[in-house]
């Protein structure tokens, strides 16, 4: 039996719940990680990943295999993250405190490298679309074309997002990376 994502999605469209559970098992960890990197909050990332997985089921009969299933699911997850960020009231990072990670020992692990923690904090302060572009490119290892497709923009617009995002990061991390203020 064909066990590809697209074949499973075809079965989900016909109401096959087992195929749906299979897809969820396969893609949930990656989508949860992606949502967490974009949102910077474990609890919100869980809500977004759950919503994205439910959409796999509810939207399956309307799904058209125009793009790879993984690309479609990533787009759904990123859009849900951006929507949530848009709706959520702005909270100053100092007021919000540290990002709570419920995993045992995750706090100690994060503290072990101040430098990388500072980078992740700076990434969280970026505007939503710049952050999404950086996460998709540097964390998911996507090409600019793939990331542009997921964000629903052109490759040149994505490149602009990346350049601006990195400029903002360099500015925020100038003490850390030893750069002079322009």
């Amino acid at each position: 039996m064909d066990d590809s994502d697209e074949a499973l999605m075809g079965r989900v469209a016909r109401g096959d719940e087992r195929a749906y559970r299979n897809l969820v098992q396969r893609h949930l960890p990656a989508m949860l990680g992606l949502a967490r990197r974009i949102l910077g909050n474990a609890a919100e990332a869980e809500d977004v990943a759950q919503e994205a997985m439910l959409r796999v089921w509810t939207h399956a009969p309307r799904w058209q295999p125009l793009a790879a299933f993984r690309t479609w699911l990533t787009r759904v997850t990123v859009n849900l993250c951006l929507d949530r960020k848009r709706r959520a009231p702005w909270v100053e990072l100092e007021a919000a405190g540290e990002i709570v990670d419920p995993a045992p020992g995750a706090g100690e692990q994060a503290e072990s490298d101040e430098r990388e923690r500072a980078v992740t904090t700076a990434i969280q302060q970026l505007p939503d679309r710049q952050r999404a572009a950086i996460v998709l490119t540097y964390s998911e290892g996507m090409s600019n074309a793939q990331a542009a497709e997921i964000l629903g923009t052109s490759v040149s617009a994505l490149e602009t997002l990346l350049v601006r995002g990195k400029q903002n990061l360099r500015r925020a991390l100038r003490d850390l990376i030893g750069e002079e203020e322009p």
Binding site: A13, G15, E17, Y20, V24, Q25, L28, P29, L32, G33, R36, R37, A42, A45, E46, A49, Q50, M53, L54, W57, T58, H59, A60, P61, R62, D101, P102, A103, P104, A106, Q109, A110, D113, R115, E116, R117, V119, T120, I123, I134, V135, Y138, S139, K166, L169, R170, I177, G178, E179
Partner: protein, 112 residues
């Protein structure tokens, strides 16, 4: 810091966040383990739903059929097929029955 070094730093920092959190995955899986919601049917499948002769449970189909019947009656009663200048008068026929019976033959002029 050079561009490549900065890119590498970004990748390392994001990779650190990449590690899957088992407990978090389990929590979401537990939330998804309940009954699944209704799937959204595309519009082009609706005629197929109406033509699917399965009688149990068929409330949506009965409701759709009833709605079609009500719309049909409403259109029939509203008289949308009548001419706009005659909507206020009840007209049974425009010509009397006599015009049919006593009309002379067009060629011969013979009366019936």
């Amino acid at each position: 810091m050079k561009s490549q070094e900065f890119d590498a730093l970004l990748m390392r920092a994001l990779k650190r966040q990449n590690k899957a959190d088992e407990a978090s995955v389990e929590r979401v899986l537990a939330r998804l383990s309940g009954p699944v919601p209704r799937q959204q049917l595309p519009f082009w499948r609706l005629p197929a739903v109406l033509l699917d002769w399965q009688f149990a449970p068929a409330w949506p189909r009965v409701a759709a059929l009833g709605a079609c019947a009500v719309i049909g009656f409403a259109i029939g009663l509203s008289g949308v097929d009548r001419r706009i200048d005659r909507t206020d008068t009840a007209v049974i026929t425009s010509g009397g029955i006599g015009s049919i019976v006593f009309e002379p033959e067009p060629l011969t002029g013979a009366q019936p």
